[in-house]
């Protein structure tokens, strides 16, 4: 029986009269890779912000590792072992790559030496070792995203949440990112991934949760999701519809 690590229960988030997340519930079990998909404006990032403490949800609960973390501040949630990357990367620009990671490594290290050791380990794991003395602001977008992940790993999390970590990357970079995710997962990391690049996440996800207009419309294995009618209608549907029209028009 898998142990649930993150439980989102009936979470609702409103901005004024706009309902960004409407009664969303799902569970991420320990050791799983779960991806969260949905068209633009479906409320994926809002949900992330609610889970990671940037927003206080309007109603509902978030439970992590058996503890209620609803409305806790972000740094508390990170200290408990749940951390996230940002869709719009936020490198600490005027600091070197190494300093960026070191900042994260201080969280659970008792001394600077210990933090530095952890930093070296993470830098090698994420293939940023060669660039460790570069300023974070001068990295390419792919490396900035990698740095986001590296910095997060340095806080020794139990679970990480990636917010569109692969958007804007080329094929090789996506492949590297996928490998990194799979490797992390093999080492016991639980992942929740928000992603638009379907071919990247479908093969590596254990389960997929689909949001549309703030509601959860489907949940299941990648196979089930691909064949789910409502998902096709809401998400893939438009594109398929457009494509089929194009083909018909061509004939």
């Amino acid at each position: 029986m898998p142990r649930p690590l993150l439980e989102v229960q009936n979470l609702t988030m409103k901005f004024g009269s706009l309902v960004a997340n409407d009664d969303v519930s799902f569970v991420v079990n320990e050791g799983e890779i779960v991806s969260l998909i949905g068209p633009n404006g479906a409320g994926k990032t809002t949900l992330f912000n609610c889970i990671s403490g940037f927003y206080k949800p309007f109603s509902g609960k978030v439970i992590f590792d058996g503890k209620d973390i609803t409305g806790k501040s972000t740094h508390q949630i990170t200290s408990m072992g749940l951390t996230r990357t940002f869709q719009i990367v936020k490198p600490l620009k005027d600091m070197t790559v190494k300093e960026n990671v070191l900042t994260g490594a201080f969280l659970h290290a008792n001394s600077k030496r210990e933090a530095e050791n952890l930093t070296d380990q993470v830098l090698r794991m994420t293939h940023l070792w060669d660039k460790k003395d570069m300023l974070a602001g001068s990295l390419t977008i792919a490396d900035k995203k990698r740095l986001e992940v590296a910095r997060m790993l340095a806080t020794k999390p139990k679970m990480i949440m990636l917010d569109e970590a692969m958007a804007g990357l080329n094929k090789t970079e996506i492949k590297e990112a996928m490998e990194l995710c799979v490797n992390l997962n093999k080492n016991g990391m639980t992942l929740l991934i928000v992603e638009h690049v379907m071919e990247a996440i479908m093969p590596i996800s254990n389960r997929v949760v689909v949001l549309n207009a703030g509601r959860k419309i489907a949940e299941g294995s990648p196979q089930q999701i691909i064949n789910n009618e409502e998902v096709i209608k809401a998400y893939l549907g438009e594109r398929y519809y457009a494509k089929s029209r194009q083909i018909n028009g061509g004939i």
Binding site: F54, T83, K90, D94, M95, E99, L102, T103, F106, K112
Partner: protein, 326 residues
């Protein structure tokens, strides 16, 4: 290796400063070195909250004044040594800064800067209308014979210089200690991105508060020294916008967020302001500030990282040149 080299540079600067007033035994020059040390030290303190943490404070005169007034009142009213007043002043300043800036930290960017400016003005007005501390008339510190314990020296400026020197080194080393440790990384993370810092598990409010408290305590210490050196204080002098701005300008000119910045900035601006005052006398009032202003505009336009940025840029260019020719 690089770190050792960097520190070596700092020790070299310390050594050069120590020799200065003994080589050039001109009283006016000694006065300038003392003012230089006071303002470089103030810059180091201010740098912690603004340079490292990115929370712009335009109100550091408040803490400077609290330091000056605490020791002066204790000496004037009760005859207590300014050394004790200095320590108490630093503690007061740290406490007051914590109380005042806790609500202000909800404000970001410019709004925080405006709030600090307002707080300093409020504290100034309080002292102006507070009779117990002689209000706007100010306090002339009773002259006592030369003594280390009473921090008064009338025969020579050298003892003042040595005290300022030690305090300046302490302030600089505090800044170095903050920068090189966990706290420094955390403060810089907060400066670069509030959200990213939070996501890294940094309690941003707490660390900003720590930075503010250390910064204001350092500032207050120099307030006490300044009062004992000038032997007269009034609210306009120690709580004035002049002091706040001077601290800001010299650090920005030298290089924000670096331990060397305030030293370079003070080394340029303090002699400039003191010498223009000497040469132009009463007629040249404010001309030093005009030159200041012009310098700041030039720095802001061409090298926002200050003189230090200029150094780095030429160094980098040199390295690139070496690479292309090799």
């Amino acid at each position: 290796m690089n770190e050792i080299m960097k520190n070596r540079m700092l020790y070299l600067i310390f050594a050069i400063i120590l020799i200065l007033p003994f080589v050039l035994q001109d009283v006016n020059f000694q006065h300038i070195t003392i003012m230089f040390l006071i303002f470089a030290g103030l810059g180091e303190g201010w740098n912690i909250i603004t340079g490292f943490t990115g929370q712009t404070s335009f109100g550091h005169a408040a803490f400077f004044g609290i330091g000056a007034y605490t020791s002066t009142i204790m000496f004037y009213k009760f005859g207590i040594s300014p050394w004790i007043g200095m320590i108490l002043g630093a503690l007061f300043a740290a406490g007051i800064s914590a109380v005042v800036s806790y609500p202000c930290f909800r404000l970001k960017g410019h709004y925080f800067a405006i709030a600090t400016l307002a707080v300093a003005e409020i504290i100034k007005q309080l002292f102006v209308s507070w009779d117990y501390v002689e209000g706007a008339t100010g306090i002339s510190i009773p002259v006592k014979p030369d003594s280390f314990w009473m921090m008064q020296f009338h025969k020579s400026k050298i003892p003042y210089f040595l005290i300022a020197y030690v305090l300046f080194i302490v302030a600089t080393l505090v800044a170095v200690a903050v920068e090189k440790n966990k706290m420094g990384y955390y403060l810089k993370a907060i400066r670069e991105s509030h959200e990213a810092a939070e996501a890294l598990g940094i309690n941003t409010t707490r660390y900003k508060l720590y930075a503010m408290m250390i910064s204001s305590a350092v500032t207050a210490v120099f307030g006490t020294l300044y009062a004992q050196y000038i032997l007269y204080i009034d609210p306009f002098m120690v709580f004035g916008l002049d002091i706040s701005m001077k601290i800001v300008l010299l650090t920005v000119l030298g290089g924000l967020g670096s331990v060397y910045g305030p030293i370079i900035g003070a080394a340029i601006l303090i002699p400039l302001s003191e010498y223009t005052r000497v040469f132009l006398g009463g007629t040249g009032k404010g001309i030093d500030l005009m030159i200041y202003g012009a310098l700041i505009v030039i720095v802001a336009c061409f090298e926002p990282r200050g003189v230090l940025g200029l150094f780095r840029r030429t160094k980098k260019r040199g390295a690139q040149y070496a690479k292309t020719t090799a």
